[in-house]
């Protein structure tokens, strides 16, 4: 039995969705042109005026926005309403360069909460659920987004925020949390910690909504099996609103983009040309309902595929694949494209923990790819030859997947730093940029 939060929107006909998008896009372009000099300047450079945009077919006439634009326009340069109309600021977790800040009116927060509510209901959430949110609260959008969505659904909301694993588990047991919202790496860590404490029988979780970082299908299986839950993916970015830009349904076959609020395009990351559905490329979003911080054609750097085939859940909104990597965190090692998710897939297939670290170094102009893997009781043997055989198998599997040789280094369990937010998977010591 499929669950919808706003069935009339989530299951609307494609014609209806197109009509909403056409009308809202035209209005939004005018709003941005009139109120955001930074973007008006970009449009003028491209020789486009709002009258040129009459429907979604004209979308590709508009210029792109990138993270660089957001940094340049920091803090108020892309704001489209008076600051006095805004009620909230959120910011990216940005580890490099200047932070990006996004602004929200009360209307924007309401729509964002609706998007998250759709995700929670799709994961089986009702007003009888206990939604345990251990995404960070604060400038990071994860906590506030799912918190707002949970309120809309009417679920009992546990605003745990991140960290303090003992307390997370205690509340989970004592208050009977049924839906867990956090990063997938923290979910995997929680699962391990629950088993270490022997509390697996006291956990009442039925579903998890995990996002904010890349995770593989194998990692999903791992988390589902360990916690006996169904794990749902959720996608979003602060620039566009936060979590809930798209979300997974029970079919677990891609994330439905909330197309009444966001138009998704896939472009060739090099030429900027729009690619047909089904082709892999960079995901671009246009925000058509936001008032305060309405980004047009924002380049996410996430590499995805869009799928407009009918979904078995009954929703009509386009599905995006899990990002297959980021055009900016993809590693080029010895001239070969390496995605951390590929390494993760191999490790999990071979029975190693999903907690790993990739270290890239350059010695004598030659790249070296090192993968730190934690030793497990299952892998360990009193006999060196048995460990060596397993190491060689892993080396072979990595070579087959990546096309280049990776040095496997076995390390003490739990010695790889587990961040309680985004996991640090890659350490590139080459200083290439």
């Amino acid at each position: 039995m499929p669950n919808y939060y706003q069935p009339e929107v989530e299951c609307a006909s494609r014609d209806q969705i197109k009509a909403w998008q056409d009308e809202r896009l035209v209005k939004q372009v005018k709003h941005v042109y009139d109120n955001v000099p930074y973007y008006r300047n970009l449009m003028e450079k491209k020789g486009v005026v709002p009258e040129d945009i009459r429907s979604t077919e004209d979308l590709n006439k508009l210029p792109f926005l990138t993270k660089d634009d957001l940094r340049e326009a920091y803090p108020y340069g892309l704001l489209a309403v008076p600051l006095s109309d805004c009620v909230r600021i959120q910011s990216t977790s940005g580890t490099t360069g200047r932070r990006v800040v996004a602004f929200y009116t009360q209307h924007d927060l309401d729509l964002w909460d609706d998007c998250c509510a759709r995700a929670i209901v799709a994961a089986g959430g009702t007003k009888d659920d206990v939604v345990h949110v251990c995404y960070g609260y604060g400038l990071f959008t994860g906590g506030p987004g799912l918190n707002g969505g949970s309120h809309k659904v009417g679920s009992l909301t546990l605003p745990m925020s991140s960290g303090n694993t003992d307390r997370q588990i205690q509340f989970m047991c004592d208050l009977g949390s049924t839906i867990l919202c956090c990063t997938p790496s923290y979910a995997a860590y929680l699962a391990e910690s629950i088993y270490e404490r022997g509390l697996q029988d006291q956990i009442k979780l039925k579903a998890g909504i995990f996002g904010a970082e890349a995770w593989s299908e194998e990692m999903r299986q791992d988390i589902q099996n360990k916690l006996h839950i169904k794990a749902y993916d959720i996608y979003g970015l602060t620039e566009i609103s936060g979590p809930g830009v798209s979300f997974e349904c029970s079919a677990q076959g891609g994330m439905h983009v909330n197309e009444d609020h966001f138009i998704a395009e896939i472009i060739d990351p090099v030429t900027g040309e729009v690619l047909p559905d089904g082709e892999k490329g960079e995901l671009v979003f246009t925000s058509i309902t936001k008032q305060a911080f309405p980004l047009l054609r924002y380049r996410t750097r996430d590499i995805c595929v869009l799928n407009r085939e009918k979904c078995s859940c009954g929703r009509t909104h386009v599905r995006m694949s899990k990002p297959m990597g980021r055009s900016d965190d993809m590693l080029i090692v010895k001239g070969v494209n390496v995605f951390p998710s590929q390494i993760e897939t191999v490790l999990l297939n071979k029975g190693y923990p999903a907690n790993y670290q990739i270290i890239v170094t350059r010695e004598n102009n030659s790249d070296k790819l090192e993968v730190l893997v934690e030793m497990t009781p299952e892998m360990f043997s009193d006999e060196l030859s048995k460990i060596t055989v397993r190491e060689k198998e892993l080396n072979g599997a990595l070579k087959a997947m990546l096309g280049i040789y990776a040095v496997v280094k076995l390390v003490t369990p739990k010695s790889i730093t587990r961040s309680e937010g985004k996991a640090v998977r890659v350490i590139d010591k080459r200083n290439l940029y």
Partner: protein, 135 residues
């Protein structure tokens, strides 16, 4: 037959001490120790007075530990006694994976610890030749 602990240790200063420290805190007495190292990591092998307690103490500190069977044979402290023992095993076609030694303080007897895939057969052979198996 004796129980031996094998512990995974990284090649890093202090890693052996972390093991002995955990055992000290658990009041475990170490009777023999031997290490096998590779460029990346080592396997530390230990004979202790309370193997299961030792395993629990180490596991609680995050170490990966295995407990396995090894044979320990008490030898006379004189030339040729090790050779004699090894000849018995060689004649019986028993192969040894690794070997190390320690001393029992009370009677000053050297003890050879070794690992083989054929523990039962090796025990039988050695006992037939009146060698003392420590347990």
């Amino acid at each position: 037959m004796l129980k031996q602990l094998s512990v995974f240790v990284e090649n890093r200063s202090g890693s052996l001490m972390n093991v002995t420290n955990a055992l000290l805190d658990a009041d475990i007495n170490i009777r023999a120790i031997s290490s096998f190292d590779t460029p990346e990591f080592g396997i530390l092998r230990l004979i202790v007075d309370e193997p299961e307690e030792a395993k629990a103490a180490l596991t609680a500190r995050g170490f990966v530990v295995r407990v396995g069977d090894v044979l320990a044979v008490e030898l006379e402290d004189k030339k040729g006694s090790l050779n004699a023992m090894l000849k018995i095993l060689a004649d019986g076609n028993i192969s040894i994976n690794y070997i190390y030694s320690f001393v029992i303080r009370e009677n000053q007897a050297p003890v050879m610890v070794f690992h083989t895939d054929d523990i039962e057969e090796a025990t039988q052979l050695l006992e037939n030749h009146d060698l003392i198996i420590v347990d």
